[in-house]
C-alpha cells in the first residue's frame, strides 16, 4: 500500500505561516467533516503577510511553471456545492517557473486587504476566506494548498439604538406589553426587558424567549429560507395575573450567534429575531416575533 500511496503523494509539502501567527488570536472553525480546527483571525483592512515553505520530499525535485498565492473570499451555496463564488480574489506570483530541489521559503504580503464580509457558516451557505498556494505544473497537475482564516469585522456602537416596545394581544383573551431595551445587540450583550400583562384570560403555563436565525439564500424565485431556533430561554413559569410584570434578562454569550448580515453580495442574508412565546395549558402557543440586529462590537481585550 505504502508505495501505492506514495505514487499519489504530492511531490512536496507546502505550509503557510502567518507573520504574527504565534500571537494572533485563533478561533475555532467547524470543518465539513465536523472536526473543529483553530484558524487565525483577521479583520478587514489588515495586512495579511507570512511565509510559504515548499519542501520537496526526500530525493525529489519539483518542476513547476510558477508558484502563486491567492487570497480568496468565497461564497458557497450548499445546494450548489463545489461551486464557489469568489467575491474577492488577490494574486501574488511568488516564483518564476523553475525547479525546487530543497526547502524554499517565500514571503508574501497582501497589504490592507478589503474584506467586507465576515466568515460565516450557515445551514445553506458558507462564506470563507482562504489563502491558496498553487505550484503550477504541466502534465502532473498543479499542487494546491489551502489555508483558511477567519474574518470578523467590528463595528462601533450604533448611534441610534431604540428600544423595542409593543403591545400585542388577542381580543378579550390576552393582552401583553413587552419591552426590550434595545433593537441592536452586540454578540456579548444582554437583552433586558420586561413583559407586562394587561389582560390574562387564558391559563398560561409558561413563557419563553426564543432567539431565531433566519438565513435566506439565493435570490428571486430561488430564495431558500432556513429558520433555526438557536436559544430557548424560559422567562416565566406558571400563570400570571393581570398587572404582573416579568423581567427579561438574557445573556447572549452562551449562544452561537453571528452579526446580522444583510444581502451579502446578493447571495444571502442572515437575520435574527426575538420570539416571545406563551404556552397555555392546552399547549397552544401564542407568539410574537421581533427582529433585532446583531453586531460585533470591538472587544477591548483583543
Amino acid at each position: 500500500m505504502n508505495y501505492l500511496l506514495g505514487a499519489f503523494k504530492p511531490a512536496c509539502n507546502i505550509s503557510i505561516t502567518f507573520t504574527d501567527g504565534k500571537n494572533r488570536k485563533q478561533v475555532p472553525t467547524k470543518k465539513d467533516n465536523g472536526q473543529i480546527v483553530m484558524n487565525p483571525l483577521f479583520q478587514s483592512q489588515e495586512t495579511i503577510a507570512g511565509k510559504i515553505n515548499i519542501e520537496p520530499y526526500q530525493g525529489k525535485k519539483v518542476e513547476h511553471n510558477g508558484v502563486k498565492v491567492e487570497l480568496l473570499g468565497q461564497i458557497e451555496m450548499y445546494f450548489d456545492r463545489g461551486n464557489f463564488y469568489d467575491f474577492t480574489s488577490l494574486v501574488r506570483e511568488i516564483d518564476v517557473p523553475g525547479e525546487i530541489y530543497e526547502r524554499k521559503t517565500y514571503p508574501f504580503e497582501f497589504s490592507s486587504v478589503e474584506m467586507p464580509y465576515e466568515t460565516y457558516n450557515g445551514v445553506n451557505v458558507r462564506l470563507r476566506y482562504v489563502l491558496k498556494v498553487t505550484v503550477t505544473r504541466g502534465y502532473a497537475g498543479s499542487i494546491v494548498e489551502y489555508q483558511d482564516f477567519v474574518v470578523r469585522n467590528y463595528v462601533p456602537l450604533p448611534p441610534i439604538n431604540n428600544s423595542i416596545k409593543m403591545e400585542v394581544g388577542i381580543e378579550d383573551c390576552l393582552h401583553i406589553e413587552f419591552e426590550y431595551n434595545k433593537s441592536k445587540y452586540h454578540l456579548k450583550d444582554v437583552i433586558l426587558g420586561k413583559i407586562y400583562f394587561l389582560l390574562v384570560r387564558i391559563k398560561i403555563k409558561n413563557m419563553d424567549l426564543e432567539i431565531r436565525r433566519r438565513e435566506s439564500t439565493g435570490a428571486g424565485a430561488n430564495t431558500h429560507v432556513e429558520t433555526e431556533t438557536l436559544a430557548k430561554f424560559e422567562l416565566m413559569d406558571g400563570a400570571p395575573v393581570r398587572g404582573e410584570s416579568i423581567p427579561v434578562r438574557v445573556f447572549l454569550t452562551p449562544y452561537d450567534l453571528t452579526p446580522t448580515h444583510k444581502n451579502i453580495n446578493n447571495k444571502f442574508s442572515v437575520k435574527y429575531y426575538l420570539n416571545l412565546v406563551l404556552v397555555d395549558e392546552e399547549d397552544r402557543r401564542y407568539f410574537k416575533q421581533q427582529e433585532i440586529t446583531l453586531y460585533r462590537l470591538k472587544e477591548e481585550t483583543s
Binding site: 430561554f233 424560559e234 416565566m236 413559569d237 434578562r249
Partner: protein, 787 residues
Amino acid sequence: MIADGSEDEEKWLAAGAAAFKQNAFYMQRAIDSNNLKDALKYSAQMLSELRTSKLSPHKYYDLYMRAFDELRKLEIFFMEETRRGCSVIELYELVQHAGNILPRLYLLCTAGSVYIKTKEAPAKEILKDLVEMCRGIQHPLRGLFLRSYLAQISRDKLPDIGSEYEGDADTVIDAVEFVLLNFTEMNKLWVRMQHQGPAREKERREKERGELRDLVGKNLHVLSQLEGVDLDMYRDTVLPRVLEQIVNCRDEIAQYYLIDCIIQVFPDEYHLQTLDVLLGACPQLQASVDIMTVLSRLMERLSNYAALNAEVLPYFLQVEAFSKLNNAIGKVIEAQEDMPILSAVTLYSSLLKFTLHVHPDRLDYADQVLGSCVKQLSGKGKIDDTRATKELVSLLSAPLEKYNDVVTALKLTNYPLVVEYLDTETKRIMATVIVRSIMKNNTLITTAEKVEALFELIKGIINDLDEPQGLEVDEDDFQEEQNSVALLIHMLYNDDPEEMFKIVNVLKKHFLTGGPKRLKFTIPPLVVSTLKLIRRLPVEGDNPFGKEASVTATKIFQFLNQIIEALPNVPSPDLAFRLYLQCAEAADKCDEEPIAYEFFTQAYILYEEEISDSKAQVTALQLIIGTLQRMQVFGVENRDTLTHKATGYAAKLLKKPDQCRAVYACSHLFWLEDRETIQDGERVLLCLKRALKIANSAQQVANTARGSTGSVTLFIEILNKYLYFYEKGVPQITVESVESLIKLIKNEESMPSDPSAESFFATTLEFMEFQKQKEGAIGERYQAIKV
C-alpha cells in the same frame, strides 16, 4: 380516585427524588473535581426536579428540603471558587445561562448569596435584583418555595443596622423594602392558589394553603427581627405596607392569618403605638374573616402586656387605647353586617377583659362596653346560639372575677341590660355564678339599692320568668340554687337597722313574687335575718337621745307576719308554723305581748287547720309546749288560754302513747321554777294523773288488741316526771304517789317484758339512789321515798 391520587403522588415523589439524587451525585463529583461547568450543569438538572406540578405542597416540601441541602454545598463550592480567583460577577452571570427559569433562579439566589458575602457589590443591589428576578415564577407553589429560599439565604445578609452588610446610607430601609417586596409577592402567590384549579377541590386547596402559610408569615417574622425596624420605621413603613397588602389581597385565609401574624410577631409596645392604624384596617377586611378572634388576641396580648408591665399603663392612657378599640369594634361590627352574634359578643367580651386589665379604675369604660354590647344585642331578641350564650356568660363573669366584688359590678348600669338577653336557663346559671362569687369573697352588700340591683341580676333564680318554662329544671339543681340564695341572704347586711330594714323589705318584695316553690327556701333565712335585726334593735325606752326610731320592733313584727303568711299557701305549713313560734319567741324577748299572742294564735290555727299528720302533730305539739313554756311575756289570762289549748291538743292526739307523752309534757306548762306566778301544783298533778290514766288505757288497748300487755315504758316515763316535780318540791306530788307508782311498775314488771324498759327502770332507780346520797334538800327528799 383519591386514594389512587395519593399513591401516584408517592410514586412521583419517589421518581423525582431518585432523579434528584442522581444529579446531586454528579454535581458533588463535579464539585470534588473543581469543575464549575459541570457543577452548574448537574445542579441545574437536579433543580429541574422542582419544576414538577404533580406534588402536593407537603411532598413538594420534601423535595425542596433536599434541594436546600444540596444548594448549601453548592454555595460553599461557589465561595471556594471565588477564593480561587473566579470572578463572582462572572459566576453571577454564568448561573443565568440556564435555560429553565426555576433552576436558573435557584442558582441565581445561591450565587447572589455568595456575591453578597464577597462584598463586591452592595448587598441591597443584589437583593433587589434577586427579588425582582424571582417574579419569573408565577406558579404559586413553586414561586412560594423559591421565594422562601430567597428569604432563607438572605436572612443573615440583610443590610440591617449592625450587620456587616450595612451600607452607607438608608440601609435599613433597603432591608425592609426587600423583605416587604418578597412578602408582598409571596402573599400574592399564596392568595392566587385559591383561585386556580377546579371549584370542587376548594377544600383540598384550602388545606394545602394552610400548610403553606408559614412560608408567607416567615417574612413578617424576619421583619420583626430586624434591628433597624424601630417604632418609627414600623409605624411609617412596615405596618402600612403590610396592611395595604393584607387588605388588598381580599382573601379570607390570608387576611386572617397575616393579621394574626402581625399581632403575634411584633412587640406589644408597637401595637400600642400604632393601634389606630392596625384597627383601621380591620373593618376593611373581607366579611368572612374571623375578625373577632384576631381582635380578641390583640386585646389579650395588650392586656397581658399591661398586666405584666405596670409602668406602661400611662401609655395606654396616652394613646387612648380603650376608645380606639371600642370604636374599632363598633366599626367592624358595622362593616360586617351579617356578623354572627357570637362574634360580636366575643369581641365585647375581649374588650371588656382588656379594659378590666388595663383600666381597672375606669368603671365607666367597662360600662360603656356593656352599653355597646346591649346596643348590638337589641332587636335581636334572646340569644339562642349556645356558644354565643356561653360567651356572654363569660363576658358577664369577667367583671366579677376581676373585682372579686359584686358591689362594683352592680355599679355597671348596663350590666343587667345585658343579662336581659340571656335565655332563662342561662340567666339562672349566670345568677348562680354571681351568687357564688359573692359567697366566695364574702362580699357584704350593704344598701337596699344595691340589693335591688343585685336581685335584678339574679332574677333568674329568684322568680319564674314570664315565659312558661319548657324545660323542667332538675330538682337537685333547683334546690342547690335556692340554697345558695338562702346563703346569699346572710351576705346582705347593714349595721344600721334602718337600712337593714329596707334591705329585708326589698328581699320580701322579690321573694314574694318568686313563686311558691321557692318560698320554703327563701322565707326561713329571711325571717332569721329579720329576727337578727330585731335583736339588734335598741330596747325600747332605752333610747337615751329620745329619738323616734323609725324602725320599731312592732313594724318588723308586722313585716314578719306578712312574709310568714305567704307560707301556708305554699303549702308549707310546717315551716310557717315553726317560724311563727320563732317569731313569738322573738316577740317575747321584745316584750310585745299582743304580738307574741298573735303569733301563737297563728301557730295554733296552722296546727288545727293544716297539720293533720299524726306524727307531725306530735312534733308540732312538742314545739308548742316547749316554746310556750319559755314565754315570759304573757299575762295570766293569755297564758291560760294558750296553755289550755295546748293541753286540749295533747288530749286529742290519736295514739294513746302520744297522748300520754303530750299530756305529761303539758305538766311543765304549769310549773316554772323561776316564776312564782306559774306554779300550779294542782294542775301539774292533774296532768300527770291524766297521763297515768292514759297509759293505763293504752296498756289495756294493747292487751285487748294484741293479747299482750304493752310496755311499761310509759309508766317509767311518768315516774320520771313525778320524780322531777317531786324534786322541785311541788307540794302536790307526794312521797306516796311516787312510791305507789314504783310499786305499780314493779307489778307490771313481773310479767315478761322488754329489756329496754327494764333497763330504763333500773336506771331510774339507780338515779334515785344516787340522789339519795346527795347532801342537802334534794337528798333528804329522796330519802323519804321508800322503794
